[in-house]
Amino acid sequence: MKIEIRLFGCFSEFEPDSLLRLDLPEAGLKVADARAAVQTYGEQHWPRFKPDLLRVSAFASEDSLLRDGASIPADGRLCLLPPVSGG
């Protein structure tokens, strides 16, 4: 399953266009599988990657937050949202 993750906050600087494209081995995967894939990718490709920060970062679709047990949207599009700091 091909997924495309829009990266926000500090993650946005880790990939060109703030987009991470990954090819996961099976269809019908959960958000937790995407999180694990980002963890593996980050450890291998992002020098400033912090596993602790990924652990407290949320995944979302275009209109809602997604729990780790939720299915990845059928279009494979996700957003990765690190802790927020507005205001």
Binding site: G9, V56, A58, A60, E62, C79, S85, G86
Partner: protein, 174 residues
């Protein structure tokens, strides 16, 4: 017949339009309202003892507007129904003293106006997908770490956008 919303929610790209507190006050005003409150967040010149020259805000607009809307609805449930609210947040590069966020509340009396304004700004700060990068006088820049939006499996869906866990290096204060 359409009914005007009592909530005004805006995101401003600062290179196009600055936040406008006067317009916010006008929106929340009503002949029957004797209490108007406003919170204005400005960029300050220091962070954790370091000299700041400016900040950059980025955001995920679709979800930000959903959080703003929910914050206003919750405030209306608690302090309404006679309540008008304005929420606006800037994004892009801001200098010292520039306006980052404006929340205004209008109600018949002051108590509800203060409390509604406080409730909304706390949700805006802690739960909106907005990120701040601080630019320092030594040329360094760093992303601020704040509040986690993670949804725990055991939480009911109603809590889906009501998180509160801080990032590992969070310098955030309540």
């Amino acid at each position: 017949m359409t009914t005007e919303s009592p909530f005004q929610l805006e995101l401003h790209a600062v290179d196009q339009r600055a936040l406008d507190p006067a317009a916010a006050l006008e929106f929340v005003s009503d002949p029957g309202f004797g209490g108007i409150t406003m919170f204005v967040g400005r960029v300050r010149n220091a962070n954790h003892g370091r000299d700041v020259t400016g900040v950059s805000y980025s955001l995920f607009a679709p979800l930000v507007l959903k959080v703003f809307e929910r914050a206003c609805r919750e405030a209306a449930e608690e302090f309404g129904p006679r309540l008008r609210l304005h929420v606006s947040h800037a994004h892009g590069r801001l200098g010292i003293g520039d306006l980052a966020v404006v929340v205004a509340a209008g109600t018949p009396h002051r108590d509800e106006a203060f409390r509604a304004c406080r409730k909304v700004i706390e949700i805006v700060k802690h739960e909106s997908p907005i990120w701040k990068k601080e630019h320092y006088s030594d040329g360094d820049s760093e992303w601020s770490e704040g509040c986690s939006l993670c949804v725990r499996e055991a939480e009911p869906m109603a809590a889906a956008l009501k998180p509160h866990v801080h990032g590992p290096d969070c310098g955030h204060e309540h």
